[in-house]
Subunit: 434 residues, 2 copies
């Protein structure tokens, strides 16, 4: 009988929304978890800062001493504390003691992942972290395992629910950024301090994790080019709409192959215009979706809830079952694969496309002046739309692919032209044939 | 050095489109596969029926003696032959010898899966079969592993590319079934004998595999209610369009909870109308997409190419890396989990919704006659649209959920009413709130 087997002992660090849900499910369905794991799964302790705030946790499980809990008799440590310290020291300690780790801590993994992976590897322990990116969506396991026999060329997705909620709302109401952010906060879609979400830090950490797995290369949060959504105004949204596009905050990880065949990895987070009929355009509110392009598999999409207590708990528990089953059968999950170790490309040298919307004087020669600026910087133009309206005219240009630096230099030069009255919006374009 | 380690020996059974691609990739990127596996991956033989038809395979690898190849020194057997025999005997032999198996054989798994899983388990071998359902889309690993800590309630998807291609084409051209099937054949989207695809056998095998994994219950192809698309005519497509719906062949696996709390599993394949704004409605041509609803994770969607040499090879190679890595680290993949062993519900007792389109005589009392038939069978009506056009009228009814048997009985009774001139179309409705 499975119930009679030696139980797998689980130490839980942190008991917020996700931890509470994890604990509840483990205690509510013990037979299910035993059947899936091959042995009973017992929570041996829950480390929290303020025990009196957790009346739902049986008192004998609660402790404020996370270190002793990690050093105790646990087989698997589940970390849901977040932040760099003390999570980093605690997990390092666990792994060095040969205990497997399940974590949802994207910031920690994006900065110190390789140190933790190395500790896991050296001590025969597992480290699983499905919940760190895109919440409930099974994404990391497919990248790490299902596509282990393929060659991934691109990962592009919406991985931050708060900023996606704000951009979706701006798109449907036409309201400005500040106003929409405030509303999102009132509705509980944005935190009191929304910096990590709206400035792209959260998405950048996720991009680092995705790029590392996809390209078998160590990519940290510091390698990721990051721009948030605070500069996106109602004007940008409107300009996008006029071209049948919408604006999304995208995390993009891609393999760039130079003409000489040498490869590098680009990882970036920034707002971009995508066509309204692109599948990512329909991802609204707090949902996440990620596109993966692989050599053999072609295009794949994963869609679901990217945050929240229950969805994140689903991912954590899937990992916990995997880690616990490995303890039962003395197995071992996948190791870090950083064997390709491709160089990380700077944003300047990353190929992108731009959408530029200008107010120009409506007189002869303006278009040719603007066009020659593109030409000078070796940027070729894909779409031009000029629309006169009295003394001035609206001029919209969508470029072909060029290096991001060349595109930014071109925009700077154009802004300086006397005939250009105003640069209305400048935004990168994604998700359409170049 | 990984290259100096004992190689993992792979026997390949079958070398059609998928096998050729698997072999090509293994031979083209040996360093990559070694890095991902932890040891070199060597193909030690390729069993085919007619060796002279495979000039692309090195002669010393070719053999017609699949049995000896399986009995030889292989660590992993990759089966891409298809069909029940000799695949079943060969894989059974491999597993009993403790060799791990990777297969794309949905028909075999849907009929004799449990026998193979038991053999794998008893002999410490792995059996992986991601390629058997939805080609390149990582779907089985997420169901089996990522969602192992969750409770899946429903899996619904488009899992047969040929029938989806035909229905998409009928929807966009307005043409009939026979004509579209012929065209699909000419374009290479339908096989010379399309029975397995258009009559739903292929989708039913996949539904059996999905239901087994999702509900930890043994479900075979024989348990799956199956209706193909040959009865879908231009009239059905048009009736769907009039209600802003489209017709898709769906595989649906769901957990049904009765009022007394007892649970059962329903697995079925049939055409159904879905709203045009449902994400599955946009899945056109040969693509596959699957929705998964889980208790904690909520709604997830997986989308990608469901067939073809390269996409299927991607799935096979992901499994091969997993199986080979387990050999290297003496690990073990997930076992069959049939611990829930829920009863399989008959189609009669499965709750469904119907769309019924009738030509009726345009005179007083007809609607009340029709409505009373629904009432008699305890079927409640969600939408009614009656539109007069001279002597007769078009009457469209969409029901609420009822047992499939009650719905079919109601339709039979209605067809017999003297005021009903013709039953134009009858189809189940999915993908909208009941």
């Amino acid at each position: 009988m499975i119930e009679d087997r030696e139980p797998i002992r689980v130490a839980l660090l942190g008991c917020g929304t996700v931890g509470t849900e994890v604990l509840r499910l483990l205690r509510e369905y013990p037979t299910e978890y035993a059947a899936r794991t091959g042995a009973p799964v017992h929570v041996t302790g829950v480390a929290v800062r303020r025990p009196h705030k957790h009346p739902e946790v049986p008192e004998h499980l609660l402790t404020t001493d996370a270190e002793s809990l990690v050093e105790g008799n646990a087989d698997v440590v589940v970390e849901l504390v977040g932040g760099i310290e003390p999570a980093r020291s605690l997990l390092s300690r666990a792994l060095h003691a040969g205990k497997s780790v399940v974590t949802a801590n994207k910031a920690l993994l994006a900065e110190h992942g390789s140190e933790l992976y190395a500790a896991a590897d050296a001590n025969g322990a597992d480290i699983y972290f499905e919940a760190a990116v895109a919440g409930a969506i099974p994404l990391l396991r497919p990248l790490r395992e299902s596509l282990a026999g393929d060659r991934i060329n691109r990962v592009m997705g919406i991985v931050n629910g708060t900023s996606n909620y704000i951009l979706s709302a701006m798109d449907s109401t036409g309201a400005g950024y500040a106003e929409t952010l405030e509303e999102a906060g009132q509705l509980g879609y944005a935190e009191a301090d929304p910096t990590a979400d709206v400035d792209g830090f959260d998405a950048a950490a996720k991009a680092a994790i995705l790029a590392s797995l996809a390209f078998h290369t160590r990519v940290t949060a510091f390698d990721v080019h990051r721009e948030g959504i605070s500069e996106v105004g109602a004007g940008e949204i409107q300009a996008a709409r006029a071209l049948d596009r919408t604006v999304k905050l995208l995390a993009i990880c891609e393999r760039v192959v130079d003409e000489d065949g040498s490869e590098s990895v680009s990882a970036r987070v920034h707002p971009a215009m995508i066509p309204r009929d692109h599948p990512l355009a329909g991802v609204s509110g707090a949902f996440n979706a990620v596109f993966v392009e692989a050599e053999s598999a072609g295009q794949l999409m994963f869609y679901g809830q990217g945050a929240g207590g229950a969805p994140t708990a689903s991912a954590v528990l899937g990992d916990l079952v995997a880690a616990a089953r490995n303890v039962v059968v003395s197995g071992k999950g996948p190791r870090e694969s950083a064997h390709a170790q491709l160089p990380v490309r700077s944003m300047d040298r990353t190929p992108t496309r731009y959408h530029i919307s200008l107010d120009v004087a409506d007189k002869p020669g303006v278009l040719s002046q603007v066009a020659s600026m593109f030409n000078e910087h070796d940027v070729s133009i894909s779409v031009v739309r000029q629309q006169g309206r009295g003394a001035d005219a609206s001029l919209v240009v969508v470029t072909h692919t060029a290096s991001d630096a060349a595109l930014r230099r071109t925009v700077d030069k154009i802004a300086g032209l006397s005939a250009v009255l105003e640069v209305v919006s400048v935004m990168r374009v994604e998700g359409e044939p170049s």
